[in-house]
């Protein structure tokens, strides 16, 4: 390793000799690759910008004060104590394909023999980058805690506000996007207002809060059958959510939105519309397919680069029906498992195995405290049974016994009392 001073900054160059497998991203896909290679013949370096792996499917519950950040995150280092795995807390900014190096924000140049890119996705504001700070999206722990702060502060500010128009705007919550994220967020915000906070204020009635779910398309949960979409919409409406269909968002500012030609005064706007891949195409200097993803070969390798692989949300992989696989945890996980085994075989000098095939166990979304929709291997489920299944599946896929137990206890407590344990307004964002 050499340290050089450049313009006052320090460039640290890490030489791992011989170069091993470098994995970028400790999400569902990256973790599976690292797991398959643990205690194997090659050095493995896992790079993530956080020291934890995040269970994103439950992040909306952090944003709505039901769970604590530590309940949905597990420290990556605790998962890999095998001597051949190294964890680096750093942010990737480029890949030098010619010299086989990953360049990081902390000035490292990390050589690789094989490179796995599993950096996931980020929310897409359809070219309106100025909306990113106005309408937060539940993608990182910091985002989730900031959304929680804005939601809870809106009620606090409304309580102290005498101007009826301002108070109504403070108590109007717009959620953009009728996919699973938007549906789950809208249901949770409605419950927060109608159940958790119901008796806590003197000047406002939190149950009078307006929660609007705004979707540009003709129905919500487009990935599910129309029947399940209607069921979810009815369940949301029973919780008091107003669902606006065929209503594209045209403008967002500090005081509200313009949607479908109509102005809505709302101090809190939450973004759950489209996502796009992390900027892998930019790192690699190659063209991107739809939504910034990289069209990869059958073994997830970058065309023309048999030692560079892309998996998860950042990869465009076609299923058996020829359509790109969706950006789901299960897809990333299965891709990571497949690629991990493939790399392990290759490192051991064995030949590759049968091609990747995504096993679709189904998709689910929850609506409030006892309704959910699930599409599982041809079965269409809804109601209480789907909700219990949703809970069981999410507990099962959480990493770590401690997290499972704590989430279960928090849920039981919330279900029995309608309370939410993590109702804290923290952080330094200044109040407006």
């Amino acid at each position: 390793m050499s340290i050089r001073d450049l313009d006052g900054g320090v460039e640290v160059e890490l030489v791992t000799e011989p170069p091993g497998v470098v994995i970028v991203g400790g999400g569902f896909g990256g973790l599976e690759v690292a797991r398959a290679l643990q205690d194997g013949p090659a050095r493995v370096t896992l790079i993530d910008r956080n020291n934890y792996s995040l269970f994103q499917p439950l992040l909306y519950q952090v944003a709505t004060a039901a769970l604590s950040p530590a309940d949905v995150a597990v420290p990556i280092r605790t998962l890999f104590r095998g001597a051949n795995t190294e964890i680096l807390l750093d942010t990737v900014c480029a890949v030098d394909l010619e010299r086989a190096r990953v360049m990081t924000a902390n000035g490292r140049a990390i050589p690789y023999r094989m490179l796995v890119l599993a950096p996931g996705s980020q929310y897409d504001y359809f070219g309106h980058e100025e909306w990113r700070t106005l309408a937060l999206a539940p993608k990182t722990l910091e985002d989730a805690v900031a959304i929680r702060r804005r939601l809870l502060l809106a009620f606090e500010d409304a309580e102290g506000c005498e101007d009826p128009a301002e108070r109504a705007a403070l108590m109007t919550f717009v959620i953009v996007g009728g996919g699973p994220t938007g549906v789950e967020m809208a249901g949770a915000v409605a419950e927060l207002a109608r159940a958790t906070l119901a008796r806590d204020f003197r000047h406002i009635d939190p149950a009078a809060a307006q929660v609007l779910l705004i979707e540009a398309g003709p129905r919500i949960l487009g990935g599910f059958t129309p029947a399940l979409g209607s069921y979810a919409q009815e369940a949301l409406e029973r919780l008091g959510v107003r669902v606006l269909l065929g209503t594209p968002i045209e403008h967002i500012d500090e005081r509200g939105v313009l949607a479908g030609g109509r102005r809505i005064e709302a101090r809190t706007v939450i973004w759950g519309a489209g996502v796009r891949a992390a900027p892998v195409a930019q790192w690699l200097g190659v063209p991107a397919a739809a939504r910034g993803a990289i069209a990869v070969e059958a073994d997830f390798s970058l065309p023309g680069h048999p030692d560079v692989f892309v998996i998860g949300d950042a990869a465009q992989v076609r299923g058996e029906d020829g359509r790109p696989l969706p950006g789901l945890a299960a897809v990333a996980k299965q891709e990571g498992q497949y690629l991990g085994r493939l790399l392990r075989l290759r490192l051991e000098g064995k030949s590759a195995r049968s091609p990747f095939r995504y096993r679709d166990y189904g998709t689910m979304a929850t609506v409030g405290r006892s309704a959910a929709v699930a599409s599982l291997r041809g079965w269409q489920l809804r109601g209480h049974f789907a909700w219990l299944t949703w809970g069981a599946v999410h507990i099962y896929f959480l990493i770590g016994f401690r997290n499972r137990l704590l989430v279960l206890i928090n849920w039981l407590w919330a279900w029995l009392t309608y309370g939410r344990g993590a109702r804290l307004i923290t952080g330094i964002e200044t109040r407006t």
Copy 2:
């Protein structure tokens, strides 16, 4: 209520008619007063700058990644659902004694019939305000999360650092102040390094971290007997903490401290030395006694103002031995209980009761995972039994069944696995 526009800002004037009891601060003392007056004959307004009440005795466990913020905090609104209690999220900046109003940072002027000031204390940097950002103190949830981030990042940065001197400085942790806060923090940092993180890195050995507890006086835990102080010092040294006595801190900068004439290179400095009262004297425009506290009458009233009361860390109250009572949760709680009953009686037109007498049930401090010292009504306890007592007492005084259960589970898990569940580096502080 009237709203006036002043220089672009908005002054909101809240008129509660008739003026009731205003309580400033939702800590141990303020909560007890509010509780005693709940469902009583007077309106009660409880003002706090946070929406939660913090259980400060366990805050060092948030700072050292053992507990989540929500485990040691309870939303104030959930505690007071009686119709006569109003909660205001705001920061007090002055008291107008003549017009009987409390002025807040959000521009409110809140009239009171009786005023209870229970704002607690803050860390005192002995006139070196520039140390406040260099050496964080575990006083607020934000502080605790920032300390956690600095502690965990120090190990991450050391792992990627090749310069031996820089790496040694990253792995040196200075804790200033040998009172209970400093002792508990030093023990927890040593355990974090030696047990929790022991197997998690490849280039550094976290167990080689240096933890220094620096005390200006001749011994640690000056509030306990000398025998318990020595026992605690030995317990800390067994955990690998170096205790430097008679060593005043002379200087702190980004790269270390000067203490007792000796330079110590340390990237992480944690402050646990003296505290002083919140600026109540400044709010009131009256002179302060020692450590910024207000010398009050036997009924906690401000001399010459029989309707204004000060309790907790901000009040100077003398015990039976003539010495000021210490700044403990138990003192604030008992003062709040007494004053709450006194005000309730007065509001009901009854005469006052016997004078306040502090019942000293004792003090405790814990050192690591199975040692503690306790001084309980003349009994001097140490070792395992003191540690179990410490745990039981802290669980008992936590507010809320959910918090008790979650803390208990986190402790059991940590005790069994040596792990710490909340090992998250979050927040926006930039890395150096």
